[in-house]
């Protein structure tokens, strides 16, 4: 059912949706939000990662195990290997906020179903009620953190932009709340990305409304929930730095922000601050360098180029760390420089996209699920860049397809994909302007060819067996195709970000002339 879709500002007969929108942002948000919750609840009926697959199961078991550990052991032992806490079996490897969240959810589970989080005996626990309660923890986190953050963002974003059209607003809310990748990973595969991404959206909204301290606190929380949120760090850092440099006392401003960040970290890390050893203990858990340059198949530079260059054989892990770090920094440098030079709200959103992309494409140990991070700013930019957003989302979906197949989530994948195509095509909707620098780069023939590959790859992956000599042939092809498209997207967005400077300069010149 559902969706408050898009509409024009003025009622007219052929515009059927204005009734949903005329009620204002809140009514639209409630309608779309309820629909988004319904979709999430329906997806959560499907299997989770590693269902019925002993001995290690999957991410679902990892999250459940963390709940088991956190409610049964004292805080100090959460990250320490001991007889009661075997770190080799899904040991905690996320920052403390994840642990606290597991603790709260663990209490919830223990209240209704103590067996599912009993120490030791609950390993690999799978039951109807257990699954249900676990699913509800994600649903409630989503509704309590991600949804309000999106509402905050929408209110801020559409207050300031003059061209706010109510129809666009409804569409934008739908895209943010119904993003297929996020729903599939959180409510199908089973993770809590909604929490860290929700904090990030909150931080971005705070930045857009000029509340830098709130933004810093929220971003630190995101960082302390999943260290992957660091993908956004260059953008936050450069934007805030650029802004401070424009104030009267730049150093004082930077110091203030630094204090806020340190304060937030201190609060979150409080239980581990009693000794350096314990801090290092936790930190070492957060950086699993022993797991190699990349895992499985992921559409980033290292995996895509490993078809030709065997990175893992040519270099030691140590030098790979250095190489990947350098590559990441170099690639996100342009967007950082742009933001330090002329920080702006729009530029900030592009910078978020570009910096998270350079991390996804070049950093060490990237998961296919990490594509969610660049997807977030892309979704926030969906109105400005509708084509880029759709194109990127499609290939992000494709890049997760092998994972989705492993989790037996093909049915919700197809349904959500269809929904994603349907929503922008709602009847009576104004087409949103497509600034198609992308098409002009690619040429429409190439685009159709790529789209064709996209469909064929889905079908091939579902129906055919790879040749025995190359068991991962299809994965490799998928990842290379996705990688090529991701590179195009990030190149386009880097250029877009730099082009933002131009009109500003023109305006300045005009002002001077006047």
């Amino acid at each position: 059912m559902g969706k408050g879709k898009k509409v024009k500002d003025t009622p007219s007969d052929d515009d059927c949706w204005w009734w949903l929108v005329q009620k204002g942002t809140t009514a639209v948000f409630i309608t779309v939000g309820l629909f988004a919750l319904l979709v999430r609840a329906a997806v959560s009926l499907h299997p989770y990662s590693g269902a019925g697959n002993p001995p290690k199961f999957g991410d679902y078991e990892a999250q459940r195990h963390w709940m088991e550990i956190t409610i049964n052991l004292p805080v100090r032992e959460w990250y320490r290997n001991s007889t009661r806490n075997d770190l080799s079996y899904w040991g905690l490897d996320y920052p403390p906020l994840t642990a606290y969240q597991s603790f709260i959810h663990g209490l919830f589970l223990r209240f209704f179903h103590p067996d599912s989080v009993a120490l030791f005996t609950s390993r690999g626990h799978e039951s109807y009620l257990g699954k249900l309660l676990m699913r509800w923890t994600v649903l409630s986190s989503d509704a309590l953190i991600f949804f309000p953050a999106v509402l905050y963002f929408i209110i801020v974003h559409y207050n300031q932009s003059s061209r706010s059209r109510k129809s666009e607003l409804a569409w934008h809310i739908a895209m943010l709340l119904l993003h297929p990748c996020l729903i599939l990973i959180d409510h199908g595969h089973f993770q809590f990305n909604c929490i860290s991404l929700g904090f990030t959206v909150g931080a971005i909204a705070a930045i857009l409304s000029g509340k830098d301290f709130v933004a810093s606190v929220l971003y630190c929380l995101a960082l302390n929930h999943k260290q992957m949120s660091a993908y956004f760090a260059p953008a936050f850092f450069s934007y805030l730095l650029g802004k401070c440099l424009r104030r009267k006392h730049p150093i004082l401003e930077v110091l203030k922000l630094g204090l806020v960040v340190l304060g937030t970290f201190a609060v979150v890390w409080w239980p581990y601050l009693y000794s350096t050893h314990s801090i290092l203990e936790v930190l070492s858990r957060l950086a699993p360098f022993e797991r190699g340059l990349f895992e499985d198949y992921v559409a980033n530079f290292w995996c895509a180029s490993s078809v030709l260059i065997k990175w893992k054989r040519l270099f030691t892990t140590e030098s790979l760390k250095l190489i990947s770090f350098t590559a990441t920094v170099i690639t996100c440098l342009p967007s950082m420089v742009q933001q330090i030079k002329s920080p702006s709200s729009r530029g900030f959103l592009y910078a978020l996209l570009n910096s998270s992309f350079s991390f996804y494409l070049f950093s060490f140990q990237v998961h296919e699920k990490s594509i969610l991070l660049p997807l977030l700013p892309a979704t926030l930019l969906a109105i400005e860049e509708p084509f880029m957003f759709r194109w990127f989302t499609q290939f992000a979906m494709l890049s997760m397809f092998p994972l989705i197949c492993r989790d037996n989530l093909v049915v919700p994948y197809l349904a959500l994909h269809a929904l994603f195509v349907l929503i922008p095509n709602a009847p009576g909707q104004h087409r949103i302007k497509e600034s198609n620098y992308f098409v002009s780069y690619l040429g429409s023939a190439t685009m159709h060819l790529v789209l064709c590959c996209y469909f064929v790859l889905h079908i091939v992956y579902l129906t055919m067996h790879p040749p025995e000599k190359y068991p991962f042939l299809f994965e490799a092809i998928i990842m290379n195709l996705c990688f090529s498209q991701f590179v195009l997207v990030t190149l386009g967005c880097n250029i877009k970000q730099w082009l933002l400077n131009k009109p500003v300069k023109l305006e300045e010149i005009e002002k001077k002339l006047i």
Partner: protein
């Protein structure tokens, strides 16, 4: 695009009604697909068994087979329909249509197959809605589509619980659309087909009969008589094609027995919110009072759901009810409507009359299922957008009847889904009706736009009562009373919803009597 110049592009993208309707349907389909793994009632196995039965057995044994307790008890067209589906089922997985090995088969293949058939058979609903609304203005169209294509009741009953109501009600809507267009013969024909799919739709047959007699066959001795003959011939032909083979085999008595199992009780296992709930409750109440007053009242041995055994009555004070009594009561309740249909048969009233007939059948019928409220809620959606009064009535009715089928999905897993479906439906109705009746099309000020759709305070209190009942049943009752009186929350829902349905019945009755 700039606001000032609507470009060619925009015009190109303004959709045709057909495309928009497909959009509604496809969005609903996405949700239906996501609901694949949800809870399935025994009806799922019933339909699977019918697939197996019609596929593996010759026609002559369809109505005799007792391999599974879920014997075939729908009319022959439905059996043919299952036979048709079983061809594909056999291609997908032969075990689905195996009479013995298929029993309680629950692999993904059979689940997906049957769920997909339910989704595809909804196309008849789509066609019915399309025919009924194609001449309305665009805004009304979309409102009606969102009420019918996105009906939460259809999601719950067809795509979670599992039945083919969308398909059958679609046929009813097609028939109504022909009647509204004045093509009575086709309307009658489609209705006869519907009866051969599911005989429970026969409650509206008296209305059809009177209406067609007056509207189609009346006027002149020869013309009238010949038309009566044509209509009679068409209906007979439909019934002959359905029941003919069984008649030929001499099994017609067995078929009738299967179709009308009067061995069942006056109420279904879960009481439908109808008139008999009040009857039973007043019987209990009176028995209690009489006992207090010193009369010796025997506790009845028979139960309401078990049917008639000998001459034991489930009632201790009030007179026993037999199927015949319920039949007379339905006819009595129908009579004002029949009278109106006789006096002035107008096509634009037919949807209301038919919906009214099903309301009567629901309230006073024998062994009524709570799902039967679909039969009048969906047709009423067509007239819901006509006047503000209609909208207010429909708003209440559709929320109450959707809530009354909540107990169908009793597992915790589907709880958020049914609640969200109902909430979403309510908010869509609210904003849709607001726009329909309070919009300022003629450049009204913002104040009127903000006003929105309002219902009376009695209705509001009643709806808040629903929330209270739900909270009591879900949280307070288990907390305070534990497992004691486990049936009480369900009974409360029945009784409370029965008030709402009774109100809807009276409202419809008054409307029909008042109309010219």
């Amino acid at each position: 695009m700039g606001k000032q110049k609507p470009s060619v592009r925009e015009v190109h993208h303004s959709h045709s009604p057909k495309r928009s309707l497909w959009w509604f349907f496809l969005v609903a389909t996405c949700i239906k697909v996501l609901l694949f793994p949800s809870y399935r009632s025994t009806d799922f196995e019933v339909h699977r068994n019918w697939l197996a039965l019609t596929h593996s057995l010759p026609l002559s044994q369809w109505y005799f087979d007792e391999t599974s307790p879920w014997t075939l008890d729908y009319p022959p067209f439905f059996a043919y329909f299952e036979r048709f589906l079983s061809i594909f089922a056999n291609l997908i997985d032969p075990q689905i249509v195996h009479l013995q090995e298929g029993l309680n088969y629950s692999s993904n293949k059979v689940v997906y197959f049957q769920r997909v058939t339910a989704i595809l058979s909804d196309l008849s609903l789509l066609y019915g809605v399309y025919r009924l609304t194609r001449n309305l203005d665009s805004r009304k169209q979309k409102l009606i589509w969102s009420l019918i294509v996105w009906s939460p009741m259809l999601f719950i009953v067809d795509h979670v619980h599992f039945q083919y109501n969308g398909f059958l009600i679609g046929i009813l809507l097609i028939s109504l659309s022909y009647l509204e267009e004045g093509r009575d013969l086709l309307g009658g024909f489609v209705f006869a087909v519907l009866l051969c799919f599911k005989h429970l739709f026969a409650v509206a047959a008296p209305v059809y009969f009177v209406y067609l007699l007056r509207h189609y066959c009346w006027g002149g001795m020869i013309r009238g008589f010949s038309r009566l003959l044509i209509m009679g011939g068409v209906v007979t032909a439909v019934f002959a094609s359905a029941f003919g083979p069984f008649f030929h085999l001499g099994q017609i008595q067995q078929v009738i027995q299967r179709l009308f199992p009067f061995g069942r009780g006056i109420c279904h296992a879960y009481w439908a919110p109808n008139f008999w709930v009040f009857y039973i409750m007043s019987d209990k109440g009176l028995a209690f009072i009489f006992r207090k007053l010193g009369f010796s009242i025997q506790t009845p041995t028979a139960s309401f759901t078990a049917g008639l055994v000998g001459d034991s009555s489930p009632f201790s004070v009030l007179p026993q009810i037999t199927p015949f009594v319920t039949f007379i009561m339905v006819l009595l309740a129908l009579s004002p409507c029949l009278f109106k249909a006789w006096k002035n048969p107008q096509p634009q009233m037919i949807s209301r009359w038919i919906a009214y007939a099903y309301t009567c059948g629901f309230l006073f019928g024998w062994h009524v299922h709570e799902k039967a409220s679909l039969h009048f809620v969906i047709p009423l959606a067509i007239v819901a957008a006509q006047t503000l009064e209609d909208a207010r009535h429909y708003f209440l009715l559709s929320i109450v009847s959707c809530y009354s089928i909540f107990p169908l999905l009793f597992e915790a897993q589907e709880y958020p889904i049914k609640v969200l479906l109902l909430l979403l439906h309510s908010i869509l109705m609210w904003s849709g009706f607001s726009a329909q009746f309070y919009d300022g099309t003629e450049g009204n000020s913002g104040a009127t736009m903000k006003k929105g759709f309002v219902i009376g305070w009695v209705e509001r209190i009643y709806l808040i009562g629903l929330v209270v009942i739900e909270i009591w049943g879900q949280i307070l009752h288990p907390l305070l009373l534990g497992d004691k009186f486990a049936f009480a929350p369900l009974m409360l829902i029945s009784i409370y919803c029965a008030f709402g349905i009774m109100y809807s019945w009276i409202w419809q009755l008054v409307y029909i009597v008042k109309s010219l």
